[in-house]
């Protein structure tokens, strides 16, 4: 948890920098609404970047086929004239009404004041998968960690790192110099992680500086949130204990609705109910677009999210500029839009 920074004032906060959040910058920008975007991932693109960057998408209008990462690249190019600000790798912590608008805070200490909030969080926030071990919740934060804030906290400790991806290998290399003992637990002797990290890990094992165990997490033993040992299981179902003060499991990410669930918005099966004229939620000034919203006939398509962004922007403009009359304009012919886009 960082110290809060000085508040930033803007017009709109967009939660989620996936394709729909990015396109919302464009539609809001045409109406002179400036945006800050917050995303829990350290890169833009949402699911397009996290789940399927190389996969082609076939239902983006006028693009018979476009890869997810190219789509994100094109959107970034399209919104550049509006100079959006990104807060990446930050998790939204709180949202409160303030000064006739909203104050949003993040776990990195960002404080953003805005007149409207647009939730474009897709399937929710990406959060680490929790291994299905009895009682694991009781150890989380004290002995079980899904990310590392301070390497020093592991000095002199026996640490078990479970998984075979880059996160697991990265933390092996970061913790071997400080921990008393590091054991990497993985189900097979092949790794999805980058070969360089794997080779360096094998060298550390040969030098006796760490251990590698073949197996999967099976159970935790300890008391009062303090872990004593991890019980691992081999392919033949036999088990063995590994002494451990801490366990770091790295099994990828899953999507959860996250903090948005606590904002008192009307929900329908983990999605936010909206009015299809304005894409407003049940709370005035908070909008929801893209996969995270629900309305009769909803289709979870990127193109639906784009349409929702356009209509939402009209409604947001009435809040940001209550006295301004919106004149509908086409990007092809409007000279004032050309000026905004820098193409005049």
């Amino acid at each position: 948890m960082s110290e809060p920074n000085a508040p930033i004032a803007t017009d709109a906060i967009i939660i989620g920098a996936g394709p729909v959040g990015l396109f919302a910058v464009f539609e809001l920008g045409l109406l002179d609404i400036k945006c800050h975007l917050v995303d829990i991932q350290d890169k833009v693109g949402g699911q397009c970047a996290e789940l399927y960057p190389e996969k082609p998408i076939y239902d983006i209008p006028a693009w018979p086929t476009i890869s997810a990462q190219d789509l994100i690249g094109k959107l970034m190019e399209q919104i550049k004239p509006f100079a959006p600000h990104f807060h990446l790798g930050e998790r939204v912590d709180g949202l409160a009404r303030a000064n006739g608008g909203f104050r949003l805070t993040t776990d990195a200490g960002s404080v953003i004041d805005a007149k409207v909030v647009v939730i474009a969080a897709g399937g929710g926030s990406f959060e680490p998968k929790r291994p299905p071990l009895a009682g694991i919740e009781g150890y989380e934060g004290s002995s079980v960690f899904y990310s590392v804030r301070k390497i020093e906290a592991f000095r002199g400790k026996s640490v078990v790192i479970a998984g075979g991806g880059d996160s697991a290998l990265d933390w092996v290399h970061n913790l071997v110099p400080v921990a008393k003992r590091v054991t990497l637990l993985h189900r097979r002797d092949q790794f999805r992680a980058a070969p360089d990290g794997v080779n360096r890990m094998k060298a550390l094992v040969n030098e006796g500086k760490m251990e590698f165990s073949l197996g999967q997490l099976h159970a935790l033993e300890g008391e009062g949130g303090k872990l004593a040992r991890v019980i691992a299981k081999r392919d033949d179902n036999s088990t063995f204990p590994i002494e451990a003060d801490a366990l770091l499991p790295f099994f990828g990410l899953t999507m959860k609705l996250g903090p948005v669930a606590n904002w008192g918005l009307n929900l329908y099966e983990e999605r936010i109910e909206v009015d299809t004229v304005t894409f407003a939620t049940s709370a005035p000034g908070i909008f929801a677009i893209g996969d995270i919203n629900h309305y009769p006939g909803k289709l979870k398509l990127i193109l639906s999210g784009f349409h929702e962004a356009a209509l939402m922007s009209q409604a947001a403009s009435k809040i940001v500029y209550p006295d301004k009359k919106i004149v509908f304009q086409y990007t092809t012919t409007s000279s004032s839009i050309h000026k905004k886009l820098g193409v005049s």
């Binding site: 299905p132 189900r187 999805r192 999967q216």
Partner: protein, 107 residues
């Protein structure tokens, strides 16, 4: 059409008809079979459509690609017959296929 039987951890079995060329994951979703999440929609990038393939059918299915093997690292309770159901395409040879769903798909 080939039939696929999905068995839940508590023993509940559902047999459904599958279209040739569809995946075992898609067939489950289309028929409201519980226990398969398929968060990424079939891109082999989330490991939430994990199933155990009945031994009798193991030889009739192409072995997992390196990408699928890698993705299985993000599943739990992985066994030698573990597969991601989005990577198994239905063929006539798979008529009668039995897959068991795990208790937990990571969410």
């Amino acid at each position: 059409m080939p039939k696929i039987t999905y068995i839940e951890p508590d023993g509940t079995a559902r047999t459904v008809e599958a279209e040739i060329g569809a995946t075992v994951m898609e067939t489950a979703l289309k028929n409201d079979v519980p226990g398969i999440v398929a968060e990424c929609g079939g891109a082999c990038s989330c490991a939430t459509c994990h199933v155990y393939v009945d031994e009798a059918f193991a030889a009739k299915i192409e072995p997992p690609s390196p990408m699928e093997e890698d993705m299985l690292d993000f599943a739990f309770e992985v066994k030698p017959n573990s597969r991601l159901s989005c990577q198994i395409k239905v063929t006539d040879a798979l008529d009668g296929l039995i897959v068991r769903t795990p208790g937990y798909q990571g969410r």
